[in-house]
């Protein structure tokens, strides 16, 4: 016997009622005047913990009960669906499965964040036509020119020299039309960056900072590495993937945890851009080896850049936060470890 409330439907009346079932699977209820309704015609709501169950009758009536065990028994005996439909509940009801689920979830989330998102976005970035990268970068230089950058103040001759150097370095087989743009900017100081469409911007301060043209070449190659690796598109895809992942998982999460979601996102996305810096460093280093330039020059010029940003009067404390973001060259000794190892591998002691 099943105790609960019978709700006729179309109306909010409910009556306390008891359902009975016979061996043929016919349901009876004296209070609701049900006389042998086939149990198989009823829609039974799935079991969710100990939440109440609803037996929906064909005409729109509903029977609400908290006697989950009896409902389960009836379903098993008269519907012969012992496993289907209740599988999720079986997972939930077993503490061991739950522990495994928690562990797998944590591991999977960690793995996916560390390797999955970067790998997937790399595949996607190369699978997408190259025009996507190009079109995504359009308008960025105009925007920067309007707000951040001014025309280069280097002599016309020096500019020609640099253009020639760049033309010598730029590979033609990566599908991008590489362009060198020289600019001056008080705000970002000595800096270099690449836009996803293949535009590479160097600032006057950087040209002055570099000890020699080999160092300028090193940074040019580093930026070419970003373009060739489609890092702009990959970065965007990574951030979008990360955000989507969090929306999907936290679709359940309460707003109280939003801070807890944002902070790790920031950390993870910083670590992604760090990985791409390393990739560009290694690209530049091997390109330098091929062109018989000592990759040590790359290490030196990167150190110089770091030093310049630490010492400059427009000190990093003031505008370091977003400057770091813009230059996308996270500073710190850790970054140079892979490059050092690469160089050390070239000259076995």
């Amino acid at each position: 016997m099943l105790s609960g409330h019978y709700q006729r439907g179309g109306h909010s009346t409910q009556i306390a009622a008891h359902l009975q079932i016979d061996a043929q699977g016919r349901v009876f209820c004296r209070e609701a005047a049900l006389d042998g309704v086939a149990f198989s015609a009823l829609t039974v709501s799935p079991r969710i913990g100990n939440t109440r169950r609803y037996l929906n009758f064909p005409g729109g009536a509903c029977f609400e009960t908290d006697d989950n065990d009896t409902v389960d028994r009836w379903v098993q005996e008269h519907r012969h669906v012992s496993f289907r439909g209740s599988m999720v509940h079986r997972l939930e009801a077993n503490a061991r499965y739950v522990a495994v689920a928690a562990l797998v979830t944590l591991l999977f989330a960690a793995t996916f964040l560390v390797w999955g998102v970067p790998w997937l976005s790399k595949q996607a970035a190369y699978a997408l036509p190259q025009e996507v990268s190009t079109s995504l970068g359009q308008g960025t230089l105009e925007f920067l020119d309007k707000h951040l950058l001014a025309a280069s103040e280097l002599s016309a001759e020096r500019q020609r020299e640099l253009a020639a150097l760049f033309a010598k370095l730029a590979p033609t087989n990566i599908g991008f039309e590489l362009k060198l743009e020289l600019r001056s900017s008080e705000l970002i100081g000595a800096n270099a960056f690449a836009l996803p469409d293949g535009t590479i911007v160097l600032t006057d301060d950087f040209i002055t900072l570099a000890a020699n043209d080999q160092q300028v070449a090193a940074v040019m190659l580093h930026e070419i590495g970003h373009v060739s690796g489609r890092h702009g598109l990959r970065g965007a895809l990574q951030n979008a993937g990360l955000a989507t992942l969090l929306v999907v998982i936290a679709g359940d999460a309460s707003s109280a945890s939003s801070l807890l979601v944002t902070l790790p996102t920031l950390l993870v996305s910083t670590s992604y851009s760090r990985d791409m810096e390393t990739e560009a460093d290694l690209y530049a280093a091997s390109a330098m080896v091929m062109r018989h330039i000592d990759p040590q020059e790359l290490l030196s010029v990167l150190h110089r850049l770091e030093q310049a940003h630490n010492d400059s009067p427009g000190d990093r404390k003031r505008d370091g936060g977003w400057l770091d973001y813009l230059s996308s060259h996270p500073l710190g000794e850790d970054r140079f470890v892979p490059l050092r190892e690469f160089i050390a591998g070239l000259h076995p002691a």
Partner: protein, 399 residues
């Protein structure tokens, strides 16, 4: 005929009204098991299961919400949610990409989004309420697009109008003085902020007045005054808390400085013990800012919840009595934060259950008549797109 007619319009006798408690019967461990299996299956199915997970979660929370020993039921179909969710996630990805690479496109998307937002809100509410059932009678939400546009576009339009009128007005009157124009715009923005409580009132009224249970309407009985009081008191509380904190920080900071200076002058070093004390008191203050913020937030949320529920009436004879307390809610926020942090996020399940229980334990339904006299209304099928967009873009639809 001299027989009096005592029935038709006689006012309700307050003696006969009953206070029916809401209750929540779920528990943290039980919901944790449901949640973690949901997350696992969502991951294993590359997100597809999330629609089923949402339904299961909603069914858990609805089913454990009791009023007069009858539960609530969530009747949305996972497939409907999946369709809406796919579109919403696609839009979200497109927007994230545009933000990174095509700021102009992103801007256009924001404008387009603002233009359709009122319609999204209506559809989201209709989906939510249409899929909420109590005693086998569904709730519902009127498709009142006209009012939605009036209520949700009004603040933006008012701001634009104010800026234009005051900004240009001041500029014209002063014959092109930029300072006067800036002052004019300042006045416009101030006027806009003075209007915010009123806009908030309009939105709450819109949500309540267009909701129905069966074919019976909800009605918002309060005025704008309650919202002005709510905002005013919250600002006063905020100022008080900030003042208190800055006094304490000033005193402790001053002492530390004095100690350091004294140590420097005497040529000695600050004793490590004292140094520790100084650092700890400063760290403690930084930590105090979080509860202070939560206290202000809790005050606002508790009073707003009480105000909106307390002013809502169903079919003229039924109302609510909401008694959230600032202290209780602040404690809930703070303890939930601690639980979630200490468990690396796994405690979200407990946090959600505790929040539901706290709110429902402090809410009562005041019924002047029986609950079994509500008739169901015609139901129509509705897509989940509005609801999903509202969720993915975190619109916070609803009261």
């Amino acid at each position: 005929m001299t027989v009096s007619n005592p029935v038709a319009t006689e006012p309700q006798d307050p003696q006969t009204s009953r206070n029916l408690a809401f209750g929540f019967t779920g528990n943290g461990w039980e919901y944790f098991k449901i949640w973690i299996v949901n997350v696992l299956l969502t991951i294993l199915t590359l997100g597809i299961y999330s629609a089923w997970a949402k339904v299961r979660t909603q069914q858990y929370f609805y089913g454990n919400t009791l009023l007069d020993n009858a539960s609530f039921r969530y009747t949305a179909k996972p497939m409907t949610i999946l369709k809406g969710r796919l579109v919403a996630v696609a839009a979200f990805v497109a927007f994230s990409l545009a933000q990174e690479f095509a700021p102009k496109v992103a801007l256009a998307m924001i404008v387009a989004f603002l233009l359709v937002m009122p319609a999204i809100i209506v559809r989201a509410m209709a989906f939510k309420l249409g899929n909420s059932v109590h005693r086998n009678v569904a709730f519902g939400f009127r498709y009142n697009y006209k009012q939605a546009y009036a209520v949700f576009m009004a603040p933006t339009l008012a701001l634009i109008a104010l800026v234009v009128v005051f900004g240009f007005g001041a500029q014209m009157l002063s014959e092109g003085d930029q300072g006067a124009a800036a002052a004019g715009i300042g006045i416009a923005v101030l006027a806009y902020f003075l209007g915010l409580p009123f806009f908030n009132y309009l939105a709450s009224k819109f949500y309540v007045n267009n909701s129905r249970y069966g074919d019976s309407s909800f009605n918002y009985m309060g005025g704008a005054g309650g919202f002005y009081k709510l905002y005013g008191m919250t600002i006063l509380l905020g100022l008080g808390v900030i003042l208190l904190l800055s006094v304490v920080i000033g005193v402790i900071g001053g002492e530390s400085l004095a100690m350091l200076n004294a140590a420097k002058e005497s040529g000695g070093e600050v004793p490590p013990g004292q140094m520790m004390m100084m650092l700890m008191s400063q760290g403690g203050l930084m930590l105090a800012i979080v509860p202070a913020y939560m206290l202000i937030f809790a005050y606002f949320e508790a009073k707003r919840f009480n105000l909106v529920y307390g002013s809502s009436v169903l079919a003229d004879h039924y109302g609510f009595s909401a008694r959230l307390r600032t202290g209780g809610l602040a404690w809930l926020y703070l303890s939930n934060l601690v639980i979630v942090v200490l468990t690396l996020g796994l405690g979200i399940a407990w946090a959600k259950v505790r929040a539901a229980r706290y709110h429902l334990n402090n809410l009562e339904f005041v019924a002047a008549e029986d609950l079994d006299r509500f008739a169901a209304a015609q139901q129509e099928k509705i897509s989940a797109l509005g609801d999903e967009i509202g969720e993915v873009f975190d619109l916070g639809v609803g009261i």
